[in-house]
């Protein structure tokens, strides 16, 4: 559905995208992850036909974004990282304008606006001025506007930034529903837990290059490196549990505070079970024990060298 082939883009001396390639299958929900300045927004802008790549090709549904920008726009919905709204318009006028801007006329336009108002929960506030809406509501209105022409591809640049937890949950649910409805979504975000929760795959971008492994390959790589993170809660002091854990072969205590203990072990689930057995045998009362492979955060740290100062 989305195909990016060796795309290059330079702003003055800064190489924003450097031979970037990517394939997003139809109906996928892809996360785009990378530090600030990695080229995420540039990639989304190219796909949204806002800017032209210097070299390479970007195709959406087989259409080149450079040569067929108009037909690409009919199937793409784009939400920029710092989106703006017409503050003096009412919610309904705002949606009507964008329905018109996507050449919807008459009944088609009315239906699109009615649907957008319904889905975004603005039916009772259709006459409110945009200026009077809360930040979360404005973000909802923006997504409603982005979806007004029923796009088959959604490009979202940091849509969850600044949203409160409830609004983030609603956004996640909405994106899941859209994906289940067949919409292909490419979303850039710094909120890794959200991406981990909803994305079918995640792409890592650094210095304008695709530096990620696909999910399957990442899982295999994880299996090969066979490292697991065991999180547990102890009845009593975790310090004694920490000492006991350190005597287990291949274990490394990552965090120990209060009753919580986090231990990294080399090996798979069998080793995790052995660690639990080791602790219980050592007389540690374990009240909760979970083990998981490295999450998006750990992978991110591995790729980009840990948290920034």
């Amino acid at each position: 559905m989305i195909e990016v082939r060796s795309v290059k883009k330079k702003y003055g001396r800064v190489q924003a995208l450097n031979d970037f390639s990517l394939q997003v299958p139809r109906g996928a929900l892809f996360g785009l992850v990378g530090p600030n300045g990695a080229g995420k927004s540039t990639l989304l802008k190219i796909l949204a036909t806002l800017i032209r790549p210097d070299a390479g090709a970007a195709l959406i549904d087989g259409k080149d974004v450079r040569r067929n920008s108009r037909s690409v726009r009919t199937i793409v919905g784009y939400q920029p990282d710092i989106p703006g709204l017409y503050q003096q318009m009412s919610v309904e006028q705002y949606l009507e304008f964008f329905a018109g801007a996507f050449h919807l006329r008459g009944e088609q336009k009315k239906d699109a606006v009615r649907r957008a108002l319904e889905h975004s929960g603005f039916e009772d506030r259709r006459h409110d001025e945009v200026e009077a809406l809360s930040f979360g509501m404005k973000q909802r209105l923006l997504l409603a506007k982005t979806l007004i022409h029923n796009p088959r591809v959604l490009l979202l640049d940091e849509p969850a930034t600044g949203l409160d937890p409830l609004a983030r949950i609603q956004l996640r649910d909405q994106l899941r529903a859209l994906q289940q409805g067949g919409v292909t979504i490419l979303i850039s975000s710094h909120i890794l837990s959200d991406l981990e929760d909803i994305c079918t795959d995640v792409v890592f971008i650094g210095a304008g290059k695709n530096i990620s492994l696909p999910n399957g390959a990442r899982r295999e790589a994880n299996a090969e490196s066979s490292s697991l993170l065991c999180e547990m809660e102890i009845l009593g002091d975790a310090a004694s549990a920490s000492r006991a854990a350190e005597t287990f072969a291949g274990a490394k205590v990552m965090r120990s505070s209060g009753k919580a203990l986090q231990v990294e072990i080399s090996g798979g689930e069998e080793q995790a079970a052995a660690l639990l057995h080791h602790l219980v045998t050592a007389g540690i009362a374990v009240t909760r024990f979970t083990s998981r492979g490295p999450g998006l955060e750990e992978v991110y740290k591995d790729i980009f060298g840990g948290p920034r100062p």
Binding site: P80, P83, G84, F98, G100, A101
Partner: protein, 267 residues
């Protein structure tokens, strides 16, 4: 209807200046007409030997109104148009327009027409003031029509210049400043250049005026003056001036579209 025009008008009509502008405009025009009437009647009756006729007052009111009107519209045009595109950049709404199915021409046309319609509104509200002079005689519908057409051409051209400045800059303040600078250049620099040329080329007779006029063709007030020539003498001067203003408008219109094409890089 182009949704851009509708959107622009909706937004502009919600602003305070939508009613403030025509009010101030009419107050200034009213004050000028009163001043012209007073000076014509009082001064003429004091110094003139013959009895003052209504037509003379009518002509004075007419010229006072149309020239003041042009001056006011030249002041207003940059304020209405130069912020048109920059505001989309400032509010971060331009990307929404550029990724919609609106063509660049539709975006430009929407903004151009919306600004121009507001200036047409000002022209229309001044009609009662002009009709006051019309009742007194001395000028007719032809002069009124020519004044309106000429003013409209000038204002449309300056409107396009304002939009071009708006596409060039990221901030409204810069776009408006440059737009005013261009307006001042057309009004003042052309007049000064013509005066300097005349001072340095005295004694050329008929040729002197022909060359002198060249400097003034792009001057809005000179163009308006040319509109009052008899029908048979409109050609070529009025047409040359009209051509220059149309050319300015079309050229900056094309340049604006080129700027908008590159605007995606900056949003």
């Amino acid at each position: 209807m182009n949704p851009m025009i509708w959107k622009e008008l909706q937004q502009r009509m919600r602003e305070r200046r939508a009613w403030l502008l025509p009010t101030i405009y009419l107050l200034v025009l009213g004050a000028i007409v009163t001043f012209v009437y007073y000076t014509t009647v009082v001064e003429e009756s004091r110094y003139s030997q013959h009895e003052l006729r209504g037509a003379e007052i009518g002509v004075a009111i007419f010229f006072g109104t149309v020239y003041t009107q042009l001056g006011l519209l030249l002041l207003i045009a940059p304020a209405l148009s130069a912020g048109s595109i920059t505001i989309e950049k400032e509010q971060r709404t331009l990307s929404g327009l550029l990724t919609s199915l609106l063509t660049l021409l539709e975006i430009w046309w929407g903004k151009f027409v919306a600004s121009l319609l507001l200036m047409v509104l000002l022209l229309v509200v001044s009609l009662p003031v002009l009709s006051l002079g019309l009742a007194m005689g001395g000028f007719g519908v032809r002069e009124m029509t020519m004044a309106a057409i000429t003013t409209l051409i000038i204002v449309a051209s300056m409107n396009a210049v304002g939009l071009y400045c708006s596409s060039l800059f990221q901030r409204s303040i810069y776009a408006t400043t440059i737009s005013y600078a261009i307006t001042i250049a057309l009004v003042v620099i052309t007049a000064v250049a013509a005066a300097m040329w005349q001072a340095s080329h005295r004694g050329l007779g008929q040729d002197e005026f022909a060359h002198f006029k060249v400097w003034l063709y792009p001057n809005p007030f000179f163009f308006l003056t040319l509109a009052f020539a008899p029908q048979s003498k409109l050609f070529p001067d009025w047409y040359i001036s009209a051509g220059i203003f149309v050319l300015i408008g079309v050229s900056v219109g094309v340049l604006t579209l080129l700027q908008l094409r590159r605007a995606g890089e900056k949003v």
